[in-house]
Symmetry: C2
Subunit: 323 residues, 2 copies
């Protein structure tokens, strides 16, 4: 371990999809087994009869270093023979599952059906891939993100993939969240964590399902260490995905500041990482009682992921000392 | 339609795996929609949580002309990325499912789970692939071939694929067969058939589960048209698969004549097709009251499959006229 993370004994990171997985990978490089990544499961769905967990698998493949480097999700060098044959049969083809990726869904579905819970299944998968960090579903109970749009209510992947986020979003709800609870493993990770880091994931689609989970929201509010978030909005635009479009449709200003305000409305937020192009927002962030850190947040390679991770870890250390 | 099959208004073929599928393909070339192939389901099993039907799929892919020409089973040009990833996870890898092939098992499993029966599922699959012949599971109730061996009782695929037929076979039983029955579609096909052709499939592993099925065995015995079989044993050897080894272990002479005797012990057999190398057995076949036909039975290409099919059809026509 390098010096920067010396004081970070154990870190919990909250993550959604691609952006979150990038920082999670940087944190994993810095922390190894002293990291637990708690992942949104609101995007999970059933396809071809298989339980597919897009955010969990994106983090899984990123931490294992086997993700498709271009897309950020899926496996590197993936083939799509099953999809081609499925098309020939006239089966569903709107979601592109790769051939190697199918093994993940097949194993998961079979083990869930045998009675294991999602946390146990993901433990087996990440262990088999040699990942020493914890990779934890936010909950073992199903939570399903539903998009209320001008085209009606759409399950998340129907909105996100099949309709390419084209319907106008009116509101979101997370079906099943009232009955869901964080897994014992998530609570145990928080018990031993010195800081919580919110990865640069979509605050509405990826972080809200985690932050609104009964029991987890309370536990995060009671957390005494620093809580730090990294903005997924840079220069008024989303680095990837529909965050900017969604914020605009919800009538929210598309800015890093609005992200900080949104998260601070859910939990206590001690630190917020802004990209250098948003340096002018640092004062406004500080006026919310949140310590800003301005740095380069674009993660285009391993070095930039690890660099940002270490910068965020330094901020948590600084906030711990100043507490 | 060519002249040879003029009198064959509708044919039911009974088939197992690769050898049976080859003749089924030849018959399909000759007969088109005037063919129903009734397929053994005793080899079916669950793998990676999916319902896999090796014999049905071998016939499916052969009739569609998309089978692997070297192996006879599986898809041509198949990749194995899912299997490679499954190995990485430490999952089951003793049975090689190809990536495109997975679509077949995924669709089947999903549709069976939704409440369709196997006949309905196979109808959808063969129709999607443009096959106009009927492709019928022998039964919609599960029948599972169990191999009693010197290493204990093995489910068929464990014996056949995982153990490569190495254990010494003591006896066979077909679990569930007492409670199984032929589907209405199989019985309807027999009702309109002018002849029944037993493809050159393993008589013990592939044909017996069909011939011993309650209701189907009776219906075959009551069938008034000619019943003709093609020997899978040529020159005292199996063309493919463990038929010769099994016959030897069961204490049966490994010969085409013994195949004819075995089948004639199950149903009325009117005609039997022998390879030219077994011409010396024709007299013994005739002495059983079975009309022999000696011809080249090796099917190495499309032309030889169709040629054998037309020869077998001519025999059924001859037997119909002489009845």
């Amino acid at each position: 371990m390098k010096d920067e993370s010396r004081d970070a004994s154990f870190i919990v990171a909250l993550a959604g999809g691609v952006g979150g997985a990038k920082l999670a990978y940087g944190l994993y490089r810095a922390l190894g087994e002293r990291l637990a990544v708690v992942v949104n499961t609101g995007d999970d769905f059933v396809y071809w009869g298989l339980t597919v967990c897009p955010d969990l698998d994106t983090v899984l493949y990123n931490l294992a270093g086997i993700n498709n480097p271009e897309f950020g999700w899926g496996l590197a060098g993936e083939s799509h023979a099953a999809l081609a044959m499925m098309r020939r049969y006239g089966g569903e083809d709107w979601f592109s599952l790769g051939d190697g990726d199918l093994a993940t869904h097949l194993l998961r579905t079979e083990r869930l059906r045998s009675g294991l819970n999602l946390t146990q299944v993901m433990f087996a998968l990440r262990t088999a891939l040699g990942i020493t960090a914890e990779l934890l579903p936010m909950s073992d109970q199903p939570v399903r993100t539903m998009v209320h749009s001008d085209e009606g209510v759409l399950p998340f992947q129907r909105y996100f993939v099949q309709r390419r986020c084209q319907p106008r979003l009116l509101s979101l709800d997370f079906a099943g969240i009232e009955a869901a609870q964080p897994s014992p493993q998530v609570l145990a990770a928080l018990d031993k964590a010195s800081a919580v880091i919110l990865c640069p994931s979509n605050p509405y689609l990826s972080l809200d399902p985690i932050l609104l989970l009964p029991g987890l929201a309370e536990r995060l509010r009671a957390f005494t260490g620093p809580v730090v978030a990294v903005s997924p909005i840079v220069g008024g635009q989303a680095i990837k995905g529909p965050a900017a479009k969604i914020m605009a449709e919800l009538g929210v200003e598309v800015s890093a500041l609005a992200v900080a305000q949104h998260i601070a409305g859910r939990i206590r937020l001690d630190g917020f990482v802004l990209d250098t192009v948003d340096a002018h927002l640092a004062g406004a962030v500080a006026s919310l009682g949140i310590t800003p850190l301005v740095t380069d947040t674009i993660m285009h390679d391993v070095a930039s992921k690890e660099r940002l991770a270490r910068a965020v870890l330094m901020l948590t250390t600084k906030l711990t000392r100043s507490a």
